[in-house]
């Protein structure tokens, strides 16, 4: 009469279930369930020069100039904030970097390569990932499934493989699931793993969005207002996750952000925009005191 609990696996599944363990589960394999401290000893440096260079970008929509010659440089391992009042052009600039907008003028150079005209999914394959202001998750799918969609650019098996469920398809799916689980572990999403995204609180949805981006093993993550709509505790959790990834994997971040407290705490470098141009840049304390910035925020 009570609907049975979510169908739980049979004993056979539970016992033999170590798809990505080594056969026989020998001890060396099990040791990998724990992390050595050397992984945390130093922040990895994943590139020698500026990892992302945005130069003199101009974006126009019909007659409106959204971005008027703005740009910045992102160093490896840096957390950079793009701040500015509404309409300053921050999101538009970000969209140029991720490939959703074509700039009228200017260049985006990533890992030494000019990607200005590269389609978004190819940028993802190169290691440039992004999250969205409203998460843009697949509402009817579960958290795990959403994270795995982040791996689409790397899918290696064909429709035929999928139809016949060949070894190739199976292996790929297992690999994708393993990557998703690693990010779930990093962002503490275990209890939400099989929950459909729709019912989840906004703070969790943001973490899933970030998880999806991180599953791609990116070098740079672009985040559009990640803290919007989050409670104090949720902001702290998300900030902690960003720092963890930054410190242990050397991943750089570009955050478009309104919450100045978060920016001061979290970011190494700040770029302030107004009316499509960069009006100040530098370390957070310096930019916060810059009179042009103060005026732009308070001026109206």
């Amino acid at each position: 009469m009570f609907s049975a609990a979510k169908r739980h696996p049979t004993r056979k599944e539970v016992v033999g279930f170590d798809s990505w363990g080594r056969p026989g589960d020998s001890v060396p394999g099990l040791l990998e369930l724990w992390e050595p401290s050397r992984r945390y000893a130093e922040k990895p440096r994943i590139a020698e020069r500026s990892i992302l260079i945005v130069e003199d970008v101009r974006v126009e929509f019909g007659g409106i100039v959204a971005v008027d010659g703005a740009g910045f440089r992102l160093e490896p391992g840096q957390i950079l904030a793009l701040i500015g009042p509404n309409g300053a052009g921050k999101t538009s600039l970000l969209n140029v970097v991720s490939g959703f907008y074509r700039p009228r003028r200017g260049h985006v150079i990533f890992m030494g390569r000019d990607i200005t005209h590269l389609p978004p999914h190819k940028r993802a394959r190169m290691g440039l990932a992004r999250t969205f202001q409203h998460s843009e998750l697949f509402m009817h799918m579960t958290v795990v499934e959403n994270i795995m969609t982040g791996l689409e650019p790397w899918r290696r098996y064909s429709l035929l493989d999928a139809a016949l469920w060949t070894e190739k398809a199976r292996r790929w799916e297992e690999w994708a699931r393993w990557k998703a689980e690693q990010v779930i572990d990093l962002l503490e999403l275990h209890r939400y793993r099989d929950r459909v995204v729709e019912g989840l609180p906004p703070g969790i949805q943001k973490r899933v969005d970030l998880a999806r981006a991180l599953a791609q093993d990116p070098k740079v993550v672009l985040m559009d207002e990640p803290m919007a709509g989050l409670s104090r505790e949720e902001k702290e959790d998300l900030a902690r996750a960003i720092v963890e990834v930054n410190e242990t994997q050397g991943v750089s971040f570009v955050l478009v952000e309104h919450d100045l407290e978060v920016v001061m705490d979290l970011c190494d470098y700040v770029v302030a925009m107004e009316s499509g141009r960069v009006i100040a840049e530098g370390p957070p304390e310096a930019v916060a005191r810059d009179p042009k910035v103060v005026e732009a925020y308070l001026g109206g």
Binding site: M1, F2, S3, A4, A5, H8, P9, V14, V15, F17, D18, S19, W20, G21, D25, S26, V27, L30, L31, L33, W34, E35, P36, S37, R39, Y40, A41, E42, K43, V144, R177, W178, E181, Q182, I184, D185, L186, E188, H190, R191, R193, R232, E233, R240, V243, E244, E247, T248
Partner: protein, 644 residues
């Protein structure tokens, strides 16, 4: 290792582990859910990891006589570390994960621990906070997340569990005979662990239990209630608690079943349902919670489901009552049939949803579980048995045999355990190979508790029935005496009140007074649902606890409890507190036993007002807000009379 005439429990954990690893190396010893998947560890894997942990600890300079601490949840690093420590002749002491810094400092100081194993960053921070008050030289971290924040201390003060195992493995390769040499020096009388006693009064003491103590208890239990080697168990209670220690390590090594370690504390219940263990041991609050949740879900369901449930649970009750008769393991045939129907109609679904479907034996201990709850679980179809014991006797001394489960007793002594009642004081005395060696570095307390003949003075008051069952009344110190001389065991009254799904805690006051009064904590989960159904608006616990409709509800519930108590034990007046009793405030122990003295002191004003016949009192208490801040709150508390 086992001489002739020696008992099977005259051995040590490392020896037992090695024997099992040689006998059944490929059998699953335990599982750990990691990255979404249950990872399997065989006895051989377990043995190798303990061996490496031991050598890693040896390399850190630890050995005979040392005490190693841990602040862990239910994760395999805990038993591996513990038995590894034992292998080099050391003992471990567990600290509850939710302990405050002062509590952490106290145990670390009292045990002189030089090494602590912590679960993760949160526990690491707490140790760092009190570090300079202790002798801790090394902190080993199980879950390494966040360690980038302690870079300067890595390699010196802080290492990870993997580092420890890798160091041990290297040492094992260069000195292959070392481990056997170390374990060769062990003796069953060596202390295996120190355990904090719950101490409802004063500072906790550290009870020293030897390998022999713990294993004797496990062997006796396995003799009475044998556990199958293919049975599943889920480790979910605090490892610092002797009960969890008993099941996940001692009984595990003796009976060889499978221990399952959940993925995260937040996923425990899902993991529990997924595994559906064959037996479990849980304190009363877990059983209370299960029962309350089931009852609440029924309240929320449609009339048809309610009707089917009511019929089924009635059948369950009928069958249970006829099973709980001496000599019976099962009710007679006609009631078995009734139970069968009830099972398929409704109970099976409930048991499935709560993960209790495969449970063959369930134990409750640590405090008295109200009779009503015990009977309810039996009616659902769970073979729940009370146990009685103490940390000082390695956990269990008395338990119900399957064919002699009774509601009003805590069972019969284990096969090699003797129980005696002091004729003058009524105190329960225990003698058994599981009785502790003494309190660590506290000979005076030891002398007060262990008499020269080896009898343990439990501090509990009770009596033995004609057929050898033990009845526990209460902690001797807790018995209160009314002004007319009536002796009251507050637990009895408390449990009657707590059977209501709406009452989470009830502190019974009345020592030296003409009658009993009660300070109640509402059960937020059930009462909030109740209030929502009746469209009563409220803004949190404090607010809800004072709503007139809720107070009326409580009045009815107290009346119901009173009806089932003898006249002198009835609660005459009660108040609903706007702050819940909490271990962090000293009002309860970490195992959630109420500290009556502290409560009486803190709520003195309110209690006086209750006895003066007043109807309201302005109560001032310190509240803890969600973000950790503490504020003083003064609110009026209504005092109500309970109908007779």
């Amino acid at each position: 290792m086992e001489g002739n005439g020696a008992k099977p429990y005259d051995t040590t954990f490392p020896w037992l582990l090695e024997a099992r690893a040689r006998r059944s190396p490929e059998t699953t010893a335990f599982r750990w859910k990691r990255y979404g998947v249950w990872r399997r560890f065989t006895w051989r894997d377990y043995y190798l990891m303990v061996r490496w942990a031991a050598l890693g600890l040896y390399e850190l300079g630890l050995g005979r006589g040392d005490v190693l601490a841990f602040i862990m949840g239910n994760r395999p690093a805990w038993p591996i570390y513990e038995v590894g420590a034992q292998s080099v002749g050391a003992a471990t002491v567990g600290i509850y994960k939710d302990s405050l810094s002062d509590e952490v400092a106290y145990v670390l100081q009292a045990s002189d621990a030089r090494v602590v194993l912590v679960e993760g960053q949160e526990q690491l921070d707490r140790v760092l906070e009190v570090l300079d008050r202790t002798r801790v030289e090394k902190i080993i971290v199980d879950e390494a997340k966040g360690l980038h924040m302690y870079r300067e201390k890595l390699g010196d003060l802080i290492m990870t569990f993997r580092d420890l195992l890798e160091a041990g493995r290297r040492l094992d390769r260069s000195e292959p005979g070392l481990y056997d040499k170390l374990t060769g020096d062990l003796s069953p009388e060596d202390p295996a662990g120190l355990f904090t006693t719950s101490g409802t009064t004063g500072r906790p003491k550290l009870a020293m239990l030897s390998h022999r103590n713990l294993l004797a208890m496990a062997y006796q239990l396995n003799q009475l209630d044998p556990v199958g080697e293919d049975w599943e168990y889920v480790s979910m209670l605090p490892p610092a608690w002797v009960g969890e220690q008993m099941m996940s390590i001692a009984l595990h090594y003796v009976a060889g079943f499978r221990v399952n370690f959940p993925e995260k504390p937040e996923t425990v219940w899902e993991d529990f349902r997924e595994i559906a263990p064959h037996f479990l041991f849980a304190p009363p609050r877990v059983w209370e919670r299960i029962a309350k949740d089931v009852m609440a879900k029924i309240e929320d369901s449609d009339p048809l489901k309610k009707a089917v449930y009511r019929a089924s649970i009635a059948a369950g009750y009928a069958a249970a009552k006829r099973r709980l008769v001496p000599g019976r393991r099962e009710p007679p045939a006609p009631w078995r049939l009734l139970r069968f129907l009830a099972y398929w109609a409704a109970l099976r679904g409930i048991l499935d949803k709560t993960g209790l479907k495969r449970v063959r034996r369930a134990y409750t201990g640590g405090a008295m579980l109200g009779e009503d709850y015990v009977l309810y679980m039996h009616a659902l179809g769970v073979n729940l048995k009370q146990i009685y014991g103490q940390t000082e006797v390695a956990g269990i001394a008395v338990v119900h045999p399957d064919d002699d489960v009774r509601l009003d007793t805590v069972g019969k002594p284990l096969p090699e355990t003797r129980v005696r009642i002091d004729p003058e004081t009524g105190e329960i005395l225990i003698k058994s190979p599981a009785v502790m060696k003494g309190y660590y570095r506290n000979p005076e307390a030891t002398r007060k508790t262990l008499d020269p003949d080896g009898w343990l003075h439990t501090g509990d008051v009770g009596e033995l029935t004609e057929d050898g069952h033990l009845v526990v009344h209460d902690r001797a110190k807790e018995i209160l005496v009314l002004s007319d001389g009536t002796r009251v065991a507050p637990q009895v009254v408390q449990n009657k009140l707590k059977f209501s799904p709406y009452i989470a805690e009830a502190a019974i006051i009345g020592h030296g007074r003409p009658f009993l009064v009660a300070l109640l904590n509402i059960d937020y989960a059930t009462v909030s649902r109740w209030a929502e159904r009746r469209r009563i608006p409220f803004s949190g616990y404090s607010d809800l606890s004072q709503k007139p409709e809720v107070l009326e509800l409580l009045r009815r519930e107290v009346a119901r409890a009173n009806r089932r108590l003898p006249p002198r034990l009835r609660v005459r007046r009660f108040a609903s507190l706007f702050k819940e009793f909490h271990p962090d405030d000293g009002e309860m122990t970490r195992t959630r036993k109420l500290r009556r003295r502290v409560i009486e002191e803190r709520y003195k004003g309110l209690i006086e007002a209750m006895y003066r016949g007043e109807e309201e009192y302005m109560l001032t208490v310190e509240l803890r807000l969600e973000d950790g801040r503490r504020v003083k709150a003064t609110r009026p508390v209504k005092i109500l009379d309970a109908p007779e």
